[in-house]
Symmetry: C2
Subunit: 466 residues, 2 copies
């Protein structure tokens, strides 16, 4: 009696997780998918008992859990390369925030579509997005087949309306797209959202069972400014606001300004706190520190991998984030043995799934998990020979080596061809809209960067999103 | 009357160089190639007067000078991933040098072929190689169509024979493959080659008009050890040996241990000194510094881009070297405005050509230069939209976006298909040889790493290459 299933990937090598953060590989297996879920992982010789609608040949490839981009602003791909070689304050105040004053829902929809195309092609199956006009992003996620944790961003300069819309978005969209969409409250950062608004956010998170996704302690200068002004670090601001212990996930982007004293705060927190690291941007802006991954791991905080938006990161390439995380950790700790290729793969899979609140849903290839899977080609000259498959994946494979991307058992890219997004059409329409989008003659901006947050909060910066 | 030419690339956007290190782009042009040389760069509307044997459609692509890998050990791709997450001394003494004791000419030939396949696919048209059994590498270069500066490496532990073979190789092979092969003397480094041998090398370089390519001041620890032992830095050792002023190129690999006092030495040198930077390895080994690119540029020393060997770099990806050079320079100087995307492109083209002694031959797309050209596809979602083409090239493009690679007017890759190398055949035979290559039970090694060079030089380390 053969068993009817939807999808069979065979034969292939598959990444497996051990009970103590080990990452390994099983060769010559078949992965069986039914109803969007991994039904079984069996020996390649045992596939005779399955009758599959679709069979994918995995020879010469390795099957991994789909990558997760734990912090991005997907629609910002529309601004890729628009503000290069600048310090972060000029990048924000001189270009990005003035341009974002022009942003329309249509720009966001097109940007999100282009971003999803890039991510699917690079083996990313899930992303945590933090931006504006998020209904458009949700519609794109629904249509293109990806998985996402979505949050509508807000500043205190928007009054209470920003927070209310963030909540309304989160409640209305959670569970959408057959459960592929989860949602979060998304205050921008402690330097743009008041303590009172952060406390209100914590109360909403607890009341509604919603995660919170925000920027905090992005760089050392922010931490120092916070200490000077308020006597507490950004992480302590979060603690005081009750955000570290809402019973739901708190996803902190960047955290390169996390101090030793913050590690103690996080250790005590007892909540579900995670940090997303996007190391390329820290280099680009010449920040003096990177995310303290080692200290965070010592207290059990998951550190997910991320690209941030393409206006600062130039790509949504998780493979680059993975290799840079390993290299920059070695460099900044002065220890070539930290962080190993296998550890990098653990960050990219289990820890990233935990960071976006999907630790029980994806991140491992095991029966019962959603079938978010990617096949990576190892036959290119740049990935041969293979002495150490973990090292090959982290340090030699490039995003273009992903041949097949699957979410919830549905093939979103087959042999490098996208099945759900028309890239030329998106690029054409986005190109027509760019002149209006990048116009800065109006002199407006959606927010002002820097350490002057207390003054800003009362300065009546115009809210361009009402 | 139409003019017969070999190759016409039209229409395309082409990278152009200004008189003062400016990098720009000309749109809607055609590049005309005859006899392996760029004959003309004309408006795309002016191609009617050319009758070309082959026409390549450049739409949606940008044409760049082929990339140059200024320091590698190409055959070491055979050891890609073999020794991960280790300090440099364990990497050398525990794995690489014991394994290299097994190295045969056939291993080198296969490794070189695989490396050339990887480089051609990544848009590298020329490489500076520093290894053993270099006749095999020269044969591969001749056959696969690339351009190369080749040097047979030697240690003083080999006695005078090593140096003599390096000279003999250089004299016999220079000008080979229709001039695509140039050669250099290739002492390993000041910590493995005695002062007397370095001085003899300088005399040979001057007498025979040969460049010298070596490692020096690779890291800060080497410089400190040299100061402690000899009272001089590695760069000062080179100066004393006469290597800074032979009248020919001196190509120094790495130089992360170059001090301010060395900058003064190099400023005085008046010779043709260049440095190759391969920043990924410095991160991997957690070295405390990177190549002092800014200080070197201030005194006019060209800094070429490089990957080093794949056993330490995991790839021969010049795009990654380019993006990392820009990012790590920003990070280590603390200045986000240094080094810009355009500066990175200048390093990758003009400065890299200068570094390998081919500054008058390649590195620019101009009439009279050899036709070493690559076409880079910009239609992928990860490279759209294009606000700043230099930034797109340096920070968004991936090696897999190179669609066409041309050397001396000959197409070595067309639409991602290699025309001169059979990758599966190479991978198969190399795979069969790997068990014998990686065997370390013999307890031998070709050299010993570290600061104990004085002792080592007289310790009679066995020379496995005689």
């Amino acid at each position: 009696m053969s068993q009817s299933v939807d999808l069979l990937i065979t034969p292939c090598t598959v990444l497996v997780h051990g009970p103590h953060e080990e990452v390994g590989f099983r060769q010559d297996v078949a992965v069986v998918v039914r109803g969007g879920v991994v039904e079984a992982v069996v020996g390649a010789g045992d596939v005779g008992r399955f009758d599959a609608v679709e069979v994918i040949d995995g020879r010469g490839q390795v099957l991994l859990p789909g990558l997760i981009n734990c912090h991005t602003h997907a629609p910002m791909v529309a601004l890729r390369g628009i503000a290069e070689d600048l310090p972060v304050e000029e990048w924000f105040d001189g270009v990005v925030w003035p341009v974002e004053a022009n942003l329309t829902a249509r720009d966001v929809a097109l940007g999100a579509r282009l971003a999803c195309a890039e991510m699917i092609r690079g083996g990313v199956t899930c992303f945590a997005d933090h931006y504006f006009h998020m209904d458009e992003v949700a519609a794109v996620v629904e249509e293109c087949g990806m998985r996402a944790l979505l949050g509508q961003a807000y500043f205190s300069s928007q009054g209470t309306e920003g927070r209310e819309r963030s909540l309304e978005f989160a409640l209305r969209n959670r569970g959408r797209a057959d459960g592929r969409i989860t949602t979060a409250l998304a205050p921008h950062a402690p330097y743009t959202v008041t303590d009172a608004d952060l406390a209100a956010t914590a109360a909403l998170a607890r009341a509604h069972g919603l995660p919170v996704h925000l920027h905090a302690a992005e760089n050392r200068a922010q931490t120092e400014a916070s200490l000077e002004r308020h006597g507490v670090t950004p992480v302590e601001v979060l603690e005081r606001a009750g955000l570290l212990d809402t019973g739901m996930e708190l996803l902190i982007a960047h955290g390169t300004g996390i101090l030793d004293r913050d590690i103690e705060v996080l250790r005590r927190a007892g909540g579900r706190v995670a940090v997303a690291t996007a190391p390329r941007g820290y280099l680009r802006f010449a920040w003096p520190t990177t995310t303290p991954v080692r200290a965070l791991r010592e207290i059990g905080v998951p550190v997910g991998l991320a690209t941030d938006g393409a206006a600062s990161n130039n790509s949504l390439d998780l493979w680059e984030a993975m290799t840079l995380t390993a290299l920059i950790q070695k460099s900044t700790t002065g220890d070539p043995r930290w962080l190993t290729a296998r550890q990098a793969l653990h960050h990219a899979t289990v820890q990233s799934a935990d960071a976006v609140g999907l630790g029980d849903v994806v991140g491992r290839i095991e029966p019962g998990r959603r079938a978010d899977l990617i096949l990576v080609d190892l036959t290119g000259p740049h990935t041969q020979p293979v002495h150490d498959l973990a090292a090959t994946l982290v340090h030699s494979v490039r995003s273009g080596d992903v041949r097949t991307t699957i979410v919830d058992g549905r093939v979103l890219m087959r042999d490098r061809e996208l099945t759900t997004i028309d890239v030329p059409g998106v690029v054409r329409e986005l190109g027509e809209r760019l002149p209006a989008l990048v116009e800065r003659g109006h002199g407006r901006r959606i927010q002002r960067y820097g350490v002057e947050e207390a003054a800003e909060k009362s300065s009546g910066v115009r809210d361009e999103f009402r």
